[in-house]
Amino acid sequence: MLYLPAFNPLSGDKEIYRYIARVMLKGGVPYKDVFDHKPPLIFFLNYAALLLGGDWGQWLIDMALALLTTGLFYRLCKRHQLPYPWLLPLLFNLMIRDHLMCLGMGMTREYTTMFLLLFFCAVMGRSRYRYFLMGGISGLVFFMQQDQVLALLPFFLYAFLPGEDKSPLWARALRVGAGFLLVALPIVLYFSFHHALGDLWQDAFRFNFTWYTTTLKETTWDHWRKIKATLDQGNYELPSVVALTLGVSSVFFRHSNKKLLALSLVAVVLSISTEFMGGRDIRPRIFEMGFTHYFLPLSASLPILLFAVFAFTQEPVLQGFKAQGIYGVLLCASLLYTDIQHGTHLQRKKDDLTVMSPEMNYLRQHRPGDYQLFIFFDNNCIYAYNEFGIIGPTRWVYQHFWELYDSWDRDHALFLSIEQDLLRHRTKYIVNFCLEEKFFRDKTAYAEWRSFLSRYYDRVEIKGEKDAEMWKLKGEPE
């Protein structure tokens, strides 16, 4: 409820997902008509949300998924006779809704985190469709946020360990494959039907393994400091330290399922491996916090580790109401405080600086239609497309690659395509955000953009403007 549409904070990534869903609603196809390098499931999910009524639809989908995950995890904890079967599901919810980490509802990693926990429930469950479900959920993860598949691998291994199931290995693999295909096939068919399989491959896969692996070179210590700072400032420190301490200690204690314990420990590490692969922040910002939402998968992997500890421990010091009660307080107290602080200091989305900006107020008075507005260099302001229910004039809805990579669009072909799109659609308004030469890796691209603006657009002075510039096509009436 803390993330009801009125309070769900605005964030660039989420605005882009919503925007792409709108493009789909208007007949466009992801990747072909709009660029993003995320796998397609998040766009379909946002599309479904739009069909269900927009923001509230998305909230319902998100909440239903969270409730389902919580319920299944609770059932698992109860089946394994944990003294407080609600403790770990509560921890999961407190972590995944920690506003210092999650950037609100609707991020890809939030969904994959829930999928990870669902996957674990399937692995530990007794369903005859267990392997089929595992395949289906891994398909969901893969097509939502590829790198999160890594955190599933240890549990795949666990499910395929000898003695875990009576059916032969090939039969299990076949069921997993069938489950995966259940997700993969419709997606492939959709893109193939829209002649966009090549775009899907190029943007959602190849791009991520070529361009998007260029990351700031950081030492292991830099990563370590970043992890420490992020966990600390996001109030994940206590649950992380407590869970890892209990996990590592249990390796030396009497424990009836050390395989699961060891694999859960591996899963914790893998769930934040993005810190080492991603965070493609190639500006030197070491010693600061990393991308907080990269750590969101811990909200599934840590409760899973704790489940592995508590459910199979044979040590009295970790069993029983008292022992687990003490650890429960340590695990949840700090997060509970954070959530109460958040709950008592809710900020309305309409008070967001972007939503209230003078440029947005100007646009509300001069409402643009489809293709008549172009937002340049600020992902948060993609919100404008969504508020007006319009689509942008170009496929390149966001442009931070010009800021990140030296060799990106060296021949300006992409840049010129944007300019051509603007001229083709006679796009009326351009909003430039925080546009300074220093943000462009390729200074000639910046000069080209400035020259384009001054040739075809007039500057509109808006009272109270700070970081943005509003430009209007020359010769166009108000």
């Binding site: 420190e237 301490t245 030396f252 204690f253 009660g325 003490i326 340590l330 700090s334 405080y337």
Partner: protein, 493 residues
């Protein structure tokens, strides 16, 4: 050497190594400590605290610094501090071993890690650090078997009282427990023995000041001042809570605090033969953070400042509470290694990381911006004698008095009350006494921080001071035309 000694040696080695991180070359300057060092030096030159220099701390810290001066200055003080730390560590270890804790080194190690946490402690030799060692010693005596234990309890209470008064609060629960718990010795006799111990510190202190005809100053500055002028900035309960959360979090005290709080509550709930002691330890734990509610006496900030070192007594409060939990379990057997392993990692993991980070990124004192400042470089070429330098509105520069081993021309060695309290020195009498002292001694140099001085709450006083300074002194140009903090007496003022 038996195997039990390994734990003791490990604890002492950890204590020594952690203390070495604050050896004089690396113990960074901090205004309070510079003031204490000055007081020790001033006593060595025959001055009497309160009468000849103003401070509102109780006198023991001045005497400790005096002893440090006699023992050779900064290293002498370090030796005293480290010895006290090692004695306390040894005593606490002995206490843990006697109570059959599976890992008797754990809590002494935690105590040292917390007291030497550079994110909280501001280095060594702060009054609250000494107070914390004394409180742990007090507890060791309390659960010990010495026939003089009530005498020692009184003596240690006095040591705390004359080092940092408000820390006596966290002794009170233990004192009440010691005096009123059922025992063979009647309560009256116990109280009498404790009073005798207290008097063993009180009497020499009072006699010293009486002999130097400064009992009045002692009372006014070390006691009355703290209850009248030294009032606190009002903060809401929510603000206090946020400060506590921020400091514990940023200082890496969060985990030990949460573990102690959790276990303490469990200790309170479960049946136990030593319930009284556990209640006392829990109360002491809470009271060890009480400085946050009494202190922070800084008026005039839009946002109240967080005083990190006010939380250093938690190191004693947390360790003693944990001791009572582990040493007096509900079952007959004390906690074994399976209980202690997770707690050890939780309690010490984060603090060990902090200590290692600190050790691998030590800053040398001679890299300190004040020690390295152009003003001090200039003075090193023109060393001032006694009374020839006055530091105004920048406590960190009090290190200059200590470096040149000189006395300040005025009793008012630091001046931040003029920035804090609107009513302070409203008639400008104290400020006039300072300018008179400077004229009387023909003080050659004044170091003044113009930014701090400009925040005088009483503008008339500010103008009074600036008029005096500009008419009698002129700035000494510094290399690179940087704004100079150093002023020199004019030839014809």
């Amino acid at each position: 050497m038996n195997k039990h000694s390994y734990g003791l040696y490990f604890s002492l080695l950890a204590c020594l190594l952690l203390s070495l991180l604050y050896s004089p070359s690396f113990d960074l300057g901090m205004s309070d400590k510079a003031i204490f060092t000055y007081t020790g030096q001033a006593i060595a030159k025959g001055l009497v605290p309160y009468r000849d220099f103003f401070d509102h701390k109780p006198p023991l810290i001045f005497f400790i610094n005096y002893a440090g001066t006699l023992l050779g200055g900064a290293w002498g003080l370090w030796v005293i501090n480290t010895l006290l730390a090692m004695v306390t560590t040894g005593a606490f270890f002995n206490c843990c071993r006697r109570h059959r804790l599976a890992w008797p080194w754990l809590l002494p190690l935690l105590l040292n890690l917390m007291l030497r946490d550079n994110l909280i402690s501001e280095g060594i030799n702060m009054t609250r650090e000494y107070g914390s060692w004394f409180i742990v010693l007090f507890f060791c005596v309390l659960v010990g078997t010495s026939r003089y234990r009530y005498f020692y309890l009184g003596l240690l209470t006095a040591l705390v009282f004359f080092t940092q008064q408000d820390q006596v609060l966290s002794l009170l629960p233990f004192l009440v427990y010691a005096l009123f718990t059922r025992e063979e010795m009647p309560t009256g006799r116990r109280a009498l023995a404790s009073a005798a111990g207290f008097a063993a510190i009180l009497l020499p202190t009072v006699l010293y000041f009486a002999l130097h005809r400064s009992l009045g100053f002692f009372w006014e500055d070390a006691f009355r001042f703290n209850l009248t002028v030294y009032t606190t900035q009002r903060k809401s309960l929510g603000d206090h809570f946020r400060t506590i959360k921020r400091v514990l979090d940023a200082g890496n005290y969060e985990l030990p605090f949460m573990v102690a709080l959790g276990l303490g509550i469990v200790g309170l709930i479960r049946p136990n033969k030593k319930k009284g002691l556990i209640v006392a330890a829990f109360a002491a734990f809470l009271l060890s953070g009480s400085a946050e509610f009494m202190g922070g006496r800084f008026k005039g900030q839009a946002v109240a400042v967080d005083y990190y070192y006010y939380f250093i007594p938690l190191s004693a409060g947390i360790c003693l509470l944990l001791f009572t939990f582990f040493a007096f379990p509900e079952k007959t057997t004390p906690a074994d290694w399976t209980t202690l392993l997770p707690y050890t990692l939780l309690l010490c993991g984060s603090l060990t990381y902090t200590a290692v980070q600190h050790a691998t990124h030590l800053l040398r004192r001679d890299e300190d911006p004040v020690i390295n400042s152009a003003e001090l470089q200039y003075l090193r070429q023109h060393p001032p004698a006694d009374y020839q330098l006055y530091v105004f509105e920048n406590d960190d520069f009090i290190a200059a008095y200590n470096e040149f081993r000189i006395l300040s021309p005025s009793r008012w060695i630091y001046q931040h009350f003029w920035n804090w309290y609107p009513d302070w020195d409203s008639d400008g009498r104290i400020l006039s006494s300072i300018t008179e002292d400077l004229q009387r001694h023909h003080t050659t140099y004044v170091i003044m921080d113009p930014v701090n001085a400009a925040t005088f709450r009483n503008r008339a006083n500010y103008h009074r001071w600036m008029d005096f300074l500009q008419s009698h002194y002129q700035p000494v140009p510094m290399p690179g035309n940087k704004p100079s903090l150093l002023w020199q007496l004019k030839a014809n003022p």
